[in-house]
Subunit: 223 residues, 2 copies
């Protein structure tokens, strides 16, 4: 294994493979901000053609991870600390709306779904499976968002989550953070069961705030 291309198991489609690869390359700093993305070279490195690469880049452009200039190509946009804070601020605004609406129509079914997701979070967290935990965590939060009945809002929030995906795994890599997440979810569930929407919102804001604080520290060190 001398080439730089990382091998993953079972990339379902070349496009998705390239997309995931690019995300981690950008957020991981292997592709540096401002740097132009040479399609030919990168495609060769990832052993795909330029077509799926370009489609993946279009997605990333929509998420704001890269910028595109006609006839000049794609460039990596900086995900600075400010950007990260911005994303979290926007999430705060949008998720508050989603949760407020979801809380208004919370029922037994929703609570069941949330509890199931939560036990999955705990299982994965306990066994130290970081990606499984990130997955289950996402299911937990989005089950709640989905209940808002605002599909476009949920989509938007999803894009925001995507754009900071790589950072999230950084967060889950630390065991104390994993424990904390489990506790916080429980508190949110309690608040929802009690019908205390404001409390749930406050808890979720804290939940995000802690993540951003930790990430600021980690990123501040590495850059």
């Amino acid at each position: 294994m001398t080439n730089g291309a990382v091998q993953r198991r079972r990339p379902p489609t070349a496009q998705q493979y390239v997309l995931a690869e690019l995300r981690s390359a950008i957020t991981g700093g292997r592709l540096r901000p401002g740097e132009p993305i040479r399609q030919d070279a990168l495609a060769a490195r990832l052993e795909v053609s330029r077509v799926p690469l370009r489609e993946a880049l279009k997605i990333l452009e929509g998420e704001g991870l890269v910028e595109h200039k006609v006839h000049r190509g794609y460039f990596v946009t900086e995900l600075s600390l400010d950007d990260l804070r911005e994303v979290y601020r926007i999430r705060e605004l949008l998720e508050a709306e989603a949760v407020r609406r979801a809380a208004a129509r919370t029922d037994a079914d929703l609570l069941t779904v949330l509890e199931r997701a939560q036990s999955e979070v705990e299982r994965a967290g306990g066994s130290g499976d970081v990606t499984a935990m990130a997955d289950a965590n996402r299911r937990f939060h989005f089950a709640l968002f989905d209940a808002s009945g605002m599909p476009r809002l949920v989509r938007l929030i999803g894009t925001l989550w995507d754009s900071t995906d790589a950072y999230r795994s950084l967060y889950y890599a630390e065991p104390p953070n994993r424990e904390r997440v489990v506790d916080e979810h429980h508190a949110v569930l309690d608040a929802l069961r009690a019908g205390d929407t404001d409390e749930a919102l406050r808890l979720l804001d804290r939940h995000r705030a802690h993540a951003v604080t930790r990430l600021e520290r980690v990123l501040g060190k590495s850059r």
Copy 2:
């Protein structure tokens, strides 16, 4: 001219041409919700290859105008009244944030830029040039948003505007609406000059609310 392909003057790049064409086809109802998009046929109709078409579709997917299923293709998502209302609600949340921050740092330069954009709006509005007015209107609002210093937030708002672009021209098509917009902009400028942020926010909310009300009426009739 017997073929169905619409001819526009000077499409800068095939991709952008296809993108604009698709937007109006979807929002104009020529491509119906739920309908699958046959790439080959559509590409032939627009007289381009499937490559730029697919890239345009990826953009629209990011905006939520179409959905994509692996190996099954793209499908038109419905932009129902509910969706429209959702988009405007999200805009309300995000634009409020942008304007709040922008107002906090309003200065003479910003006011000058806004006034210039506004006189452009009036000129275009007076001469009945709908697209020029829509352009100038956008410049007006985004000059304000830009002043927030939150580039990602501004980008997001931009995407939301894009996703309802075709509807906006519907709104500007009616002369009384054009007059109203001019007046409302003046009021917003006054509030900003006076440093009354809350008033500006209220005015902008009304601005949007009126647009959505009118659009509801128009769409309600045509569908």
